[in-house]
Amino acid sequence: MSNSFLRKLIFDEKIRSLVVQTLIIGIFALIIYLITQQTAYNLEKRGIGTGFGFLNMSAGYDISIRLIPYTSESTHFRAYLVGLINTLMISICGCFLATILGFLVGIIRLSSNWLFRNIAYVYVEFTRNVPVLLQIILYYTILLYLPKIKQALVLFDTFYITNRGIYSPSPIFKDGFSIVAWSFVIAIIFTIFLKKYFKKKQDQTGKQYPIFYVNSALIIFTPIIFYYIMGMPLDFDHPILKGFNFKGGMVVRPEFMGMLLGLSIYTAAFISETVRSGIMAVSKGQREASQALGLKNNLVLRLIVIPQALRVIIPPLTSQYLNLTKNSSLGIAIGYADLVHGFGGISLNQTGKAIEIMSMVMITYLTISLTISLFMNIYNKAVQFKGNA
């Protein structure tokens, strides 16, 4: 009896897998139970309570880079929001810049000019084989060696380049500017419909229309016309040197610039490689066939090569965006007030709520990562090859 049971336990695949899985669940439950017990004991002994009540307490530290109002009396939750917005801001700006730079370098890498493409190659090898943290620190150091505020470099009488940041005029929107902004949005929506209409007409008649020029003109001139109609509802607040600092205007801090440069220059090297391999993956016959049809070189690139290359490029591009977002957590090394630096660093040190804060930070990053991959997956589906049914 017991012999046959043992036999089944070892040789019957279903029962065996059931036993193994139950065992694993048991072991995991035991480990989690032991850890929580131990943690509760340790926390009690150190006099650290648990719970998220601290989020409503005053944070007591200042954050210099912020997009929403924040003072040192604001709550820890407010600090969390400031950090989150800073993380998102640097990630979005970084992805944008890295994509442009990456595509540029990727295309240069395919240039027929030997010297030109090898300059790009040297750039790629030197940036992607050096840690991004080191690059961020290096660029930040360079920015700190810019002239002091008193000897600021002045560009066009409006931009002041100093080691405390780049000061520029900030826009002041007066009444009626919203109409200008809306006219811009409506112009864009209108051009999308116009493009569809022209495309349909082209499919029917075979005649080509100057869609690109018409649409560009629409997008550029509509807001300008409305701007003058509404009586120029835009003013600029110029930064003025008062005492030891500038008053008014906007400032881009060197911490932000350093992060932006480090992240985008580093990530662009990887993006350029995916762009290069993506374009090379488009078979030569495609290019030759479209040239044989009489398409011009820029049309070959725009209509034939890039749409097909995008299919190959999007998945690795997604993971580069994810990497950039995760690397934005390195702001702590140069004092960029992102999620990890402010909330995950200073708030944690002040309250000692390691478990709550670290789990909040991690869940936030997980959410950001999942959102990026979700959107990129949707986009990926849109550009993938659609087989005819």
Partner: protein, 368 residues
């Protein structure tokens, strides 16, 4: 006439013509490129070599602190002051390891290639013994570095510089390797519990930045463990690095596993092999072979990421560098230090990426 014909048939001439001056636009680009290369390289070479100080400054004095640097004596006239690297070389390579014990670190550095060569080259004679040595190496290395049993104990707080960078990189990779195989197999397991656990683990680790894992290990590991058990900072970082690397490596191995045709497993099963037998003898050898290039790429990533441990207060290569530029005697020599560290990282990472390319090429010819 005939001489000009023979000139146009010159190999170099036609190469230049095709690759540099194929059209007038290309010609302009070439000239601009040459100008750009000239400007950058002349600046860089002058700064790093021709106008730089190494041991003595331009007056012939030995450089003992920053005031002796030529560029600080005559501002704007001289290049880098490499004396900071030379004076602090011991720190960059060994950290705060006692000078008289440095031979132990050297021995470990010397043994390291023997530990790695077995993994890297599969046509090596006596490869089996090299592989055995690879798995013994972490223990031998730890014994040599940490000491005990006759050797003086050197605590991990004294380790630093390249030693910490290599320790975290190499040990992290070696420890993560078996773990990642288990994770990759688990993710493809038919048992839902195992599969779910593996997927959650891998996706969680890949979804958060390494720095949060390092923080967690640094702050929370002591909370999780009983009072007596107090892993030191380096060990905590190693735990985080290993878990991090295992998730990325598992995905690389999963790619390899997916590329193995199903017929291989079916054939193995029809021969009567069990799951473990067929995995060990049939599937894994093939899957691991094709996933080595992506594995090496994750290793390059990890090696660079070890620099993050400076944020939790460890003195890796970059951490030692930051300490060096913070030293009042040598202040404001940032560029020298950062360029030197970049070069060290570049040599390791570029070497690994070349190796990965070599493998990819080799695998391509193997299959065709």
């Amino acid at each position: 006439m005939s001489s000009s014909i023979s000139f146009t048939h010159n190999k170099y001439y036609s190469w230049c013509r095709n690759n540099l001056f194929s059209s007038w636009i290309n010609g302009i680009i070439t000239i601009l490129s040459i100008y750009f290369i000239y400007e950058v390289s002349s600046f860089f070479l002058n700064w790093t070599i021709f106008e730089a100080d190494f041991v003595n400054n331009f007056r012939g004095e030995k450089i003992t602190d920053r005031t002796f640097c030529s560029k600080n004596i005559e501002p704007g006239q001289h290049g880098a002051c490499w004396a900071i690297i030379i004076v602090r070389f011991h720190q960059f390579i060994y950290g705060f390891y006692p000078v008289e014990e440095a031979w132990r670190v050297n021995l470990v550095y010397g043994l390291l290639p023997f530990a790695l060569v077995g993994i890297f080259f599969d046509n090596l004679p006596f490869r089996k013994y090299f592989i055995y040595f690879t798995f013994l190496f972490p223990f031998i290395g730890y014994f040599l570095l940490y000491g005990g049993a006759g050797l003086d104990v050197v605590g991990t707080s004294k380790w630093g510089g390249l030693l910490v960078t290599l320790f975290l990189g190499v040990t992290g990779i070696l420890l993560a390797f078996p773990l990642s195989i288990i994770l990759a197999l688990g993710r493809r397991s038919k048992m839902p519990v195992i599969k779910t656990i593996c997927i959650i683990f891998i996706e969680f680790i890949r979804g958060v930045p390494l720095i949060t894992l390092l923080f967690t290990a640094n702050v929370m590991l002591p909370l999780f463990l009983p009072e007596g058990v107090r892993p030191d900072n380096l060990l905590r970082a190693l735990v985080a690095v290993t878990l991090f690397q295992s998730a990325y490596m598992a995905e690389a191995i999963r790619g390899g596993l997916q590329a193995i045709p199903k017929g291989q497993l079916e054939a193995a099963q029809s021969l009567g092999l069990t799951y473990w037998q067929s995995t060990r003898k049939i599937i894994l050898p093939q899957a691991l072979k094709i996933s080595i290039p992506p594995i090496v790429n994750t290793c390059i990533g990890l090696f660079k990421d070890t620099s993050l441990v400076l944020i939790i207060g460890l003195f890796d290569l970059l951490g030692v560098g930051r300490a060096a530029v913070a030293d009042i005697d040598w202040a404001k020599l940032h560029y020298e230090v950062y360029v030197f560290i970049s070069l060290v990282f570049f040599i390791f990472c570029f070497g690994m990426s070349r190796y990965s390319l070599y493998l990819e090429k080799k695998l391509k010819t193997d299959n065709s």
